[in-house]
Amino acid sequence: MHDFTVHHPQSLQETLILLDRFGDAAQLIAGGTALMNFMKQSLLLPEHIINLQRVQGLQHIQSTKDEVRIGAMVKHREIEKSNLIQNEVPILASTYRRVATIRIRNMATIGGGLAHADPAQDPPSTLVALNARIRIASISGERTISIMDLFQNYYENSLMPGEMITEVIIPSMHSDTKSTYLKFLPRTADDYATVSVSLIATLNENIVRDVRIGLGAVAPTPIRATIAEETLKGHAISDELIQQASNSVAQQVDPLDDFRGSADYKRDMAIVFTKRALQQVLQGPS
């Protein structure tokens, strides 16, 4: 690896000052799982590395009446094992459980994972379906954005120079809400998804009251299957309705041809996995 200087700030304020001072020449390091691989391949050559691991105030998992707040430095493994998250946002715990291996999940953080912005990651489609919000800080203040506005392109987030993610805010799921996360893994169990589907739905008897569908690995960013959602909302569940909604995702996906499958294959699998998720949640045992 190239030469660089490592800084170990203890507070958020100290971190933001360093970020402001070094600008483009600095990279934050959280779990390091993405950054280290980029640096080892000489694809990223920051002169300064700002270590977030000793910064106070980024490690919490808290809940209030209607939302759960997760500090940027909380690790994937902690999210997966948290009783609070298992109870209040079960789909989030089950999604983080599907990332890579335990070893990677012991290292990777929620903030680093989101900043990495690889559309084939697992958490983004679920957080998109959950309508999560991202809290961002810089030396000149704070802002909170919808997670949909965080992802721009492959590996590209909307953070401005000097900004960092401090917290992820997730609206609590209603107790009558059902959900599932499906990850299609035709190669190995520790792989990235070929396609992934995050589904959250609330039913009123046989009517779909509310439904949100996030799709991963099928476009430059995670996407919401909005056509399918509109097709389902307010309608009585039937095999035809589920098929029609599933078919519509083909219009919204824009996958890459790669070693996990051709674009055509991924488009087909997006339909298949959306359908399976809908069958499981809308027609499965309650």
Binding site: F38, L45, Y154, L256
Partner: protein, 150 residues
């Protein structure tokens, strides 16, 4: 890696060719191009910055252009290098205009690009998608430049 793009550009074929044949101007329609200098005859020197997330590649190199005004087309041979990350590209790019109607022309761009060194580690599918996005932006900017022209 081979690319082929075909788009319709609004404007008379002569107006479009005026922009396309002015190499520094045409180059400025490509996102990330920061400078293009005419060095001699058909040779130009330029810098293009390509960004994929946090990764920024600064490619510096030379371009040889062979014009064929009769067919409203040119062929470029480009060679560029990023010395910091030790990677580069070699490309042959062909652009050709054909008249579709009095104020619409068809622009056909084909390219054969080789990625050398580190840049290749990003993986072909991602690079191809990125290049497609850049060419799409190029044609949008070209359209805007043609509108300024007329």
């Amino acid at each position: 890696m081979k690319f082929a793009h075909e788009v319709l550009i609004d404007g008379s074929i002569d107006a479009i060719w005026n922009v396309l044949d002015d190499i520094p101007r045409a180059a400025s329609c490509m996102p990330g191009v920061t400078e293009v200098i005419h060095t001699q005859d058909d040779e130009y020197q330029g810098v293009i910055q390509v960004q994929v997330g946090p990764m920024k590649f600064q490619l510096t190199g030379t371009v040889d252009v062979q014009r064929a005004p009769d067919t409203k087309s040119w062929t470029m041979k480009a060679r560029a290098q990023d010395n910091r990350v030790n990677g580069g590209v070699q490309a042959t790019i062909n652009a050709m205009l054909t008249e579709q109607s009095s104020n619409v022309a068809n622009l056909n761009v084909t390219a054969d690009v080789q990625f050398l060194g580190r840049i290749g580690t990003l993986g072909q599918p991602l690079i191809k998608r990125k290049a497609d996005q850049m060419i799409e932006a190029f044609t949008k900017n070209l359209q805007a430049a043609v509108e300024l022209e007329t």
